[in-house]
């Protein structure tokens, strides 16, 4: 054993530190890796958020066919409140459909929120338990998923959807989806 070989642990440590530092400066916690990109939306069978007093319909993954933005939100989440206005604007201006997942929330408060702030959602899935959230790898609200026509996840956003994220990240994906839908439709049309 030579003196030089004793430096191996130190060298390994330096590599790890460089890695941690790089990851630390690179890492934007808003862009999480998702093993779900390119995978079908997870299966679920949950109630939809209903009007007060009326019976809840049940919805499953087959009700999620794109192009549609699936947005995970909750009334206890302050960022969701900030994001809400942008979702309304996106829905109004682009006509993109949005489906909500009301995550670990109180349905009564959720109804109140939608009544007060406006409702950009086609419908809301009530995931009071977070079981769908687990399958989606949700680690905090808000999170958003873009789903294509076959029900496949094409994009994931952790954190709020703001104007920049919409313009730079989501809209390009939506345009691609629209284009491929047009191309697929062309032979028949």
């Amino acid at each position: 054993m030579s003196r030089a070989s004793l430096f191996i642990p130190l060298t390994a440590f330096v590599v790890i530190v460089a890695l941690l530092y790089a990851g630390f400066s690179l890492n934007d916690p808003h862009q999480l890796p998702s093993a779900l990109i390119g995978k079908p939306f997870p299966t679920f069978d949950l109630p939809a958020l209903s009007a007060e007093g009326s019976a809840a319909a049940r919805v499953t993954q087959s009700d999620i066919r794109g192009p549609v933005l699936v947005n995970v939100w909750a009334t206890w989440c302050p960022t969701c409140r900030a994001e809400h206005a942008e979702l309304l604007r996106i829905h109004d201006e682009s006509g993109l459909r949005i489906i909500g997942i009301n995550y670990k929330d109180n349905p009564a408060q959720a109804r109140l929120w939608l009544a007060q702030l406006g409702n950009p959602y086609e419908f809301n899935v009530v995931d009071a338990d977070g079981t769908l959230g687990v399958d989606l790898g949700v680690y905090g609200a808000p999170e958003s998923f873009l789903i294509d026509a076959s029900g496949t996840i094409v994009y994931k956003r952790v954190g709020d959807v703001n104007r920049r994220v919409w313009q730079e990240e989501i809209k390009p994906h939506v345009d691609v989806l629209a284009k491929s839908a047009a191309a697929a439709g062309a032979p028949h049309g």
Partner: protein
């Protein structure tokens, strides 16, 4: 006033730790007795003020002082008193203050129980621990001060402790886990002190062994508690997720396990010295790395604390100084002399070497899997991937199989040299019996053959059988013979049997659990395995700070009939909804019922689990910890001190 007192106490912890880091070290270098001896007083001072600071924060929580920002964000006047106390370590700032307290108590313990060691040695050990304490205190003071006030507008009510953390398991999980993490700092300090003096001998290994065992035992219990908590509180029945934060506690455990074994060789045979030093540095470094991972947000996880880049950079800098510094010291100071200790073939040294190599490789695999997403991101400039259980299971399980096979041979080997014929003669019957029973027993009990379970139970029986056989032989088959055996030997046997218990628990519960999501209306039943589940009623009940829907589910079959009460809680302050699963624990199986969603027709969806032997996973971990603690009680650690006391008394009476 009280929070300011706490803040001031924390500043004193910092300054006293700095003094502890400097004065005894200079004393040891120059041979000033009084300077060296000041280490004991300073260690006591650090502990006293750390206790005071911690007490002040507890006081702020108990008296609902929401003018303290940390209290306001993590407590609530509706919380029961025990959760108010537990909320002290419910988030980053307070949990780090707990970390500091525990570090200071370990330092105090070393100061109190090591007065028989050479003064130059122990003063250096305490000085190293002083440096660490100073670093911890600086981190708390400069980046995460728990005593910060939210003035001038103090909220009248706190925003409550995260409901996930309102739970017994989680109130004791952090203190025990931290005791394990920080406990490795003792072995680390002994290793550094030995490097400074250049005295890497058997005595050094003997001094650090009980401390390492104790820290390792705490870490084992801490990890088991975390796993148990995830199982019953997260509500989906899993008990290990290979999550970065779990890995962060598992890596030091693997390294610590290697260290515990390597120390045995260094103490008994004087071999593996530089390797043992490296493991001691490694185990504590991985504890620090774990702290970095959890608190910097560099890897995302379900357990992540609030992300703050300043904290991450501070811990990274601390990591560079402590780990980089100690590895440099290691590279420069470890003696190059090859140890002249001779051993060959199937000796105990070789078996322990196998143990060390496997454990370190296992640790490296976990480290690789944990850091790989980061490396990938750095190399591909922003590409993201996740490494999941399939990777960890596929690398980890084969290593553990080999380790377990070697573990069965371990206790029967002797130091220096053991003949293969002797081992064969002794063990072949045990091996054959464990294979036969391991295959037959699960088949008889469950009626179904699964090769994973057959292999798992054969291996577990092999470990238990070979240890019991050795115990039989060592004691001569007589009860009186047991008294001749040392606590160290019993500790080893208990810990190894604990390992087998955990192993069988993991294998059986992974391969024969049944789980199903069902919809039940009131009075309806469903079948899961041999059990019938009937939803009897769902009631609305009120707890201290939540309202819950409580289901009554009757279970028939299994020879008995009982009712379980899963709950769906809504916490009043945050509106958070939590699933409180009902678990019917048992030695042979757990029945687990969690409430899902209410249905339009008045029924509910329920998640049902039948989990055989799941409890064995944690019972085994507790046995391992018990083994570690038993070994600490070994008389030879005290003998040295007694001899010295006798010598002193003799000298005094002679004078």
């Amino acid at each position: 006033m009280i929070p300011e007192l706490g803040h001031f106490a924390l500043i004193l912890v910092f300054t006293l730790s700095l003094m502890l880091g400097v004065i005894p070290l200079i004393g040891a270098a120059r041979g000033y007795q009084a300077w060296m001896r000041s280490a004991f007083t300073l260690a006591a001072g650090v502990a006293v003020f750390a206790l005071l600071a911690f007490g002040c924060l507890v006081y702020a929580f108990v008296t609902d002082d929401f003018s303290v920002r940390y209290t306001a964000t993590n407590s609530n006047s509706l919380l029961p008193i025990y959760y108010k106390v537990a909320a002290v370590w419910g988030a980053h700032e307070g949990s780090f203050l707990l970390w500091i307290l525990i570090a200071s108590l370990w330092t105090l313990a070393v100061a109190a129980f090591s007065r028989h060691l050479p003064l130059a040695m122990i003063s250096r050990v305490l000085a190293v621990m002083g440096w660490l304490a100073a670093g911890f205190a600086a981190f708390s003071l400069f980046t995460s001060n728990p005593f910060e006030r939210a003035l001038p507008i103090a909220p009248s009510e706190g925003s409550d402790l995260n409901p996930l953390l309102q739970d017994f398991g989680l109130t004791i999980h952090p203190p025990i886990l931290y005791t394990g993490y920080v406990g490795f700092s003792v072995a680390f300090a002994f290793a550094l002190a030995a490097l400074m003096t250049g005295r890497l001998d058997a005595a050094w290994a003997r001094w650090s062994r009980p401390w390492t065992n104790a820290a390792w035992a705490f870490l084992s219990v801490g990890i088991a508690l975390g796993s148990w908590w995830a199982y019953y509180e997260l509500g989906w029945g899993g008990w290990w997720f290979w999550d970065p934060v779990e890995n962060a506690s598992f890596m030091p455990w693997l390294m610590g396990t290697a260290l515990v074994h390597s120390l045995a060789v260094t103490e008994k045979r004087g071999a593996f010295k530089s390797w043992t030093v490296l493991l001691a540095i490694g185990a504590f470094s991985l504890s620090l790395l774990g702290a970095f991972i959890v608190r910097s947000g560099v890897l995302t996880s379900v357990h992540a604390f609030a992300v703050d880049p300043k904290r991450g950079l501070f811990i990274l800098a601390f990591l560079v100084i402590v780990v980089g510094g100690s590895l440099t010291l290691y590279a420069v100071r470890v003696p190059l002399i090859r140890s002249r200790v001779h051993f060959e073939g199937w000796s105990r040294e070789v078996l322990l070497l196998v143990n060390n190599v496997l454990l370190v490789v296992a640790m490296a695999c976990v480290l690789l899997g944990t850091l790989y997403p980061l490396a990938y991101e750095a190399i591909t400039n922003g590409g993201k991937i996740s490494v999941g259980p399939p990777y960890f299971n596929s690398v980890f399980i084969p290593l553990m199989v080999v380790l377990s096979l070697a573990l069965g041979v371990g206790p029967s080997t002797r130091w220096k040299r053991t003949s293969v014929e002797y081992l064969l003669r002794k063990l072949v019957a045990v091996f054959a019996a464990s294979v036969v029973i391991g295959v037959a027993l699960p088949l008889l009990i469950s009626g179904a053959f699964k090769w994973q379970i057959a292999v798992g139970s054969a291996i577990a029986l092999w470990i238990v059988g070979s240890h019991l056989q050795d115990l039989w032989q060592q004691s001569g088959g007589r009860l009186s013979g047991l008294r001749r055996l040392t606590a160290g030997y019993f500790g080893m046997t208990i810990a190894h049997i604990g390992f087998a218990v955990t192993l069988i628990g993991i294998v059986v519960t992974s391969h024969s659990s049944i789980e199903r999501d069902v919809r039940l209306t009131n009075g309806a039943s469903t079948q899961l395995g041999a059990l019938t589940f009937t939803l009897v009623a769902v009631d609305r009940v009120r707890g201290p700070n939540y309202i819950a829907d409580r289901g009554s589910v009757r279970i028939d079959g299994d020879g008995t009939s009982y009712v379980m009460f899963p709950e769906k809680r809504r916490y009043l302050s945050g509106g958070n909804v939590m699933t409180e699963a009902a678990i019917e624990p048992g030695v042979t199986r757990d029945v687990y019922v969690a409430m899902g969603e209410p249905l339009a027709d008045g029924g509910w969806t329920l998640r049902l689990h039948y989990k055989p032997l799941v409890r064995w996973v944690w019972v085994g971990a507790l046995l391992m910890a018990l083994g570690g603690v038993t070994a600490v009680a070994d008389a030879r650690y005290r003998r040295l001190r007694v001899r010295r006391d006798v010598a002193i008394r003799a000298a005094e009476s002679g004078a």
